[in-house]
């Protein structure tokens, strides 16, 4: 129970369903002082108090579990290491994989509980299939797709059939004070929302070159390649305009040479994606399905195959701004019951195939 409206209503629904429910708030800050002042952090004292009050109203026991060390190792350090390696991590996904449905779940099961209930917006029905929420705008199946079968078997998502507006209305009806609490959007351990500043404090300034992809020439400098994400256009601070006068985008980050390569928008296009750390629920044979390449990103039809721990997706039309480190999540379309998650993997590379290049140049 984060102290937000979703987990409060999820807990209330699980309680109503007759389960023996215990509320748990995770303390994730190693030094409470560091996160305490951040109004937008997810583990402030105020959030802990809000969660406790919600538990009181629902009528369930409530405890705070100290997961600061595990969170730091599995999520924060991983976040920093991924950026340092030139990739763009998704810490919420990692937190689901390593904390909520691993450290918390393991401890809960050992203590005699059967499942972890969360306020995620996703559907997980009797068929065991993970599906998108009915509220497509709030759907969180993308950051849950990383869960394996054993984890899903112990997960309960009571909110999947409701829109956020319905959840808020229900919270108000139930007398939960968090009914109109604003949604959290930022990364919880970066309370001020300044990811670049956070990484700079952790990694230090490491100046390097910004290079043009077409000429190979150095056209600027940066103070740390980790501050850039593939597809980024703003904040490049380039003094030399492109020959064609068009905006330039970050195409790739090369940690070994500490180089940020920029180029035209077209060069961002990829249609062949490889990924590892595969979690696959469906049949491993190549399937035609939709893939989503970032949280709340567009979906693209693709042919997906899995071999060992490698997932390959051939996109039926090119996508732009595909960053290594993000998840590729495959969905089978189902307008009735909600799109079904087939699997998830971590993007390692994206290229434009020869045929597409030929098309592009024609």
């Amino acid at each position: 129970m984060s102290g937000g409206v979703d987990s409060a209503v999820a807990a209330a629904r699980a309680h109503d369903a007759g389960h023996d429910v215990t509320g748990v708030h995770l303390a994730l800050a190693r030094n409470p002082q560091t996160y305490r002042t951040g109004a937008r952090g997810c583990c402030t004292l105020e959030d802990s108090r809000d969660a406790r009050r919600a538990a009181d109203v629902i009528g369930i026991p409530f405890y705070v579990w100290d997961m600061a060390d595990q969170f730091h190792e599995s999520v924060v350090d991983d976040f920093v290491a991924e950026y340092a390696a030139g990739r763009t991590p998704n810490p919420c996904l990692r937190c689901n994989e390593k904390i909520k449905f691993a450290a918390v779940l393991d401890r809960a099961v050992a203590l005699g509980f059967d499942a972890v209930v969360t306020g995620h917006h996703a559907r997980l029905g009797a068929d065991g299939l993970l599906r998108r929420s009915v509220d497509e705008g709030k759907d969180q199946s993308y950051v849950l797709a990383v869960l394996n079968r054993a984890q899903l078997d112990r997960a309960v998502f009571p909110l999947g059939e409701s829109t956020k507006a319905q959840v808020r209305a229900e919270a108000a009806e139930r007398g939960l004070a968090v009914a109109d609490k604003p949604d959290s959007h930022d990364i919880c351990f970066i309370a001020d929302g300044d990811t670049r500043g956070f990484l700079e404090r952790r990694l230090g300034a490491t100046p390097g070159d910004v290079v043009d992809s077409r000429t190979g020439e150095k056209i600027g400098t940066h103070s740390g390649a980790y501050a850039y994400t593939v597809g980024q256009r703003k904040g490049l601070d380039l003094r030399v305009p492109a020959p064609d006068g068009k905006p330039r985008y970050v195409l790739s980050i090369t940690p070994v040479t500490n180089t940020v390569t920029v180029g035209p928008r077209e060069a961002l296009s990829v249609d062949e994606i490889t990924a590892n750390r595969v979690i696959w629920h469906g049949s491993p044979a190549p399937v035609t399905c939709d893939v989503q390449l970032r949280a709340h990103g567009e979906v693209v039809p693709a042919s997906v195959s899995v071999a060992g721990d490698t997932l390959t997706a051939r996109l039926h039309s090119p996508a732009r701004g595909v960053a290594a480190g993000q998840a590729i999540v495959a969905y089978r379309r189902d307008a009735e019951g909600g799109d079904v998650v087939l699997g998830s993997a971590t993007i390692t590379a994206g290229v434009l195939s020869a045929t597409e290049r030929a098309v592009a140049h024609a």
């Binding site: 303390a27 409470p32 026991p61 705070v64 599995s74 450290a103 050992a110 203590l111």
Partner: protein, 392 residues
């Protein structure tokens, strides 16, 4: 429910509750000059006399406060300020390492904001201060010491401190000695005059009175600068309208608990001993923390190797058994106990500990209920400790 957390707070005595309700029905500010005010004042002063008589102090030495935390802050800060204003080099504050946070955090504050040198006396493996340590400090720093504060008995492990020896040493050096007797009153004999202490903290809700009322017994010749300024109601050392009903109930509770202390200690001590021997039988690797003798009669404290204290608490709570881990920070996260750490325990032993405290409503059924649940809870909590290993 088996309530085994009397050291946190204990149910009100029926006679204290009656006294509270009776007084709360009446109107009257004890500082008002009319008949209603005089009626309230009379009740307050009678209560003051009852408390003074029960603890062997003079009525004028009883300064009513809002409870233990305020009394501890008033004694440590107030005496520090008063003593330093007379001699600027009196900036050393001596306290034991196992004080309640109401003393520890107050003296820490003096260190960070008032330039005090905070000097914590170590304790032995039972949690006891060695009077020779204080004698050594007094010999070396006598003229620099503003105040010494050592609790009468520890709130976590129940160890009774050699308060008489410590107070005598301080008095011989002309240094005021404060003792937090919140846990001691009603549990063991407490005699303010005989102790030789300059100041002593007591509170209502640990002796069957209400929460929110307590007192600082302050020797008449002990200078103390107020924390709270206003009407000067209590000897000009403490301001604020007196809580007549609370004070009346507090006095009844102190009087009753002191009067019944001896038989209480025999009855509750026997229950506690039964609890200890049964826990040891049921969980042979449990480590008993604290002293064997000179211990509060209602206190039992164990470490359960391989368990997290907060996991055990959750499991026992689910079975209707209320006990406590060391201390929780404001966010509710269990912290390793500073008391056990000061006693030489490592982090694991401190984190694996639980306190069971019995009180005036405790029965053998409470012990039965605990023992019915404890072995299973320990076994389960041990399995839950594996969660700490990060999953690959």
């Amino acid at each position: 429910m088996a309530y085994l957390d009397h050291a946190a707070t204990t149910p009100m005595l029926a006679e204290a509750l009656d006294a509270y309700v009776a007084a709360a029905r009446d109107v009257g500010n004890p500082s008002s000059l009319h008949a209603a005010g005089r009626g309230a004042r009379r009740l307050v002063e009678e209560s003051r006399e009852r408390i003074a008589a029960a603890l062997n102090a003079r009525p004028s030495e009883v300064v009513f406060t809002s409870g233990g935390t305020e009394s501890d802050n008033l004694a440590t800060k107030g005496i520090f300020w008063a003593r330093r204003s007379l001699s600027l080099n009196r900036t050393r504050v001596i306290a034991s390492a196992v004080e309640h946070h109401a003393v520890l955090d107050a003296v820490d504050w003096l260190g960070t904001h008032e330039g005090a040198t905070v000097d914590l006396l170590p304790v032995d493996a039972d949690g006891r201060v060695d009077p020779d340590r204080l004698a050594d400090r007094l010999a070396r720093y006598r003229d620099e010491i503003a105040v010494v504060s050592v609790q009468w008995a520890n709130n976590e492990v129940g160890t009774v401190q050699p308060v008489h020896d410590l107070a005598r040493l301080a008095a011989e050096s002309g240094v005021p000695f404060h003792t937090d007797a919140v846990q001691a009153v009603g549990q063991i004999p407490v005699d303010f005059a005989a102790s030789g202490a300059a100041a002593m903290t007591v509170t209502g809700h640990k002796v069957g009175g209400p929460v929110g009322v307590g007192a600082l017994l302050l020797g008449r010749d002990v200078a103390c600068t107020p924390l709270l300024h206003g009407g000067g109601q209590e000897r000009d050392v403490r301001s604020g309208t007196l809580d007549t009903a609370g004070v009346a109930a507090f006095a009844v509770a102190v009087e009753t608990s002191v009067k019944t202390q001896q038989e209480y200690a025999v009855r509750v001590g026997a229950l506690r001993d039964e609890l200890i021997s049964r826990v040891r039988r049921a969980v042979p690797d449990a480590v008993y923390n604290g002293a064997a003798a000179d211990r509060l009669p209602g206190n039992a404290h164990f470490s359960f190797p391989g368990c997290e204290g907060d996991a055990l608490l959750l499991l026992l709570d689910a079975q209707g058994i209320a006990c406590s881990t060391g201390s929780a920070c404001s966010a509710g996260v269990a912290q390793p106990s500073h008391v056990l750490i000061a006693m030489g325990a490592d982090d694991d032993r401190a984190r694996s500990s639980l306190r069971f405290t019995l009180g005036h409503t405790s029965t053998i059924e409470d012990v039965d209920a605990l023992l019915a649940a404890l072995p299973g809870a320990v076994e389960r909590a041990k399995r839950a400790t594996a969660w700490k290993t990060p999953r690959q």
